[in-house]
Subunit: 214 residues, 2 copies
Amino acid sequence: MGPAPRVLELFYDVLSPYSWLGFEVLCRYQHLWNIKLQLRPALIAGIMKDSGNHPPAAVPRKGQYVYKEISLLKQFFQVPIRFPKDFSNVVLKKGSTSAMRFLTAVSMEQPEMLEKVSRELWMRIWSQAAEKAGMSAQQAQHFLEKISTEQVKNKLKEITDAACKYGAFGLPTTVAHVDGKTHMLFGSDRMELLAYLLGEKWMGPVPPTPNARL
Amino acid sequence: MGPAPRVLELFYDVLSPYSWLGFEVLCRYQHLWNIKLQLRPALIAGIMKDSGNHPPAAVPRKGQYVYKEISLLKQFFQVPIRFPKDFSNVVLKKGSTSAMRFLTAVSMEQPEMLEKVSRELWMRIWSQAAEKAGMSAQQAQHFLEKISTEQVKNKLKEITDAACKYGAFGLPTTVAHVDGKTHMLFGSDRMELLAYLLGEKWMGPVPPTPNARL
């Protein structure tokens, strides 16, 4: 038996395209590194408010940069991000409270589904391509009913608060528990630094799959 | 003769520790990749003002994060950054106008010295360790006298404006000219994406030196 896997908590919100990049990279590396990945659906609006931070698009030039950069990063990370046509309506007005409560409900009852369902929500918002998470209409209806319960609302608040207590000011935020120490890393661009902290090998955002025959 | 080297413009300010990281990485890779690195000393305060952006420390939790992260990044990048004891005085009040005008004067008369002198200024502000750039006291005095000339002041303004025209909202900003296209990348954490754009190999922030025998 080797050393115990290090716990990584990934806080994310499906409203954040950079969260999607970080999510896919860690989902790929969870099979390659000695880690235990814990998916922690949180609310980006709550973290921004609590930290006094503002989204990139609050500075117009940053917004333009993000828009251009995402089209490069989607190729480099091989994640099919596209900006929603109705960006300001979907992202800025509608927000993600319902979507993140839905994921919270899934995490509470069927945590083994959380990765696939999270990806499906990103695909819906950011790719306009539906990917089936293998959830029946009946199951989806069940979780939709849960999103207005106090348990689910409180759980999402609790996870968002946990991110804030770690010092989060945006998402994705990764918290690595290594040798009794806690390291909080911000952004999808800190995965190489994370590898350095873990003593694992960084092989870029698209590492070879474990089953691939070379 | 191989293909012509791609021109990379690196806009930087010695007040920015992330600029130092980006600077050292590109100085290392200029001997490994088919690039022509152009060092472009600019004024971060001017870029922040023109873009309406704010420094990370304007959000206290971001400031705390940067402080912690720099101590990890200095190890990972092997750049001896330390926060100045007198951070708020050095960085926030004093600013970098004189330092960047000094570098501008050097770039106008002795561009071959610019890399070393820039590093020496970072070492002074961010490392409290003096590194000799091989400039005599007499030479230094000469450039100090230049910093109040209109030519130098205008040149620094011109370079800062050029960064803004490329869409910069902070530093370091790298502008890569590849196949007739211009790509602006923000941050010391975009060097792996830059490698992808250039079709060059990313070997982490500390690549093997060309002369190292394996």
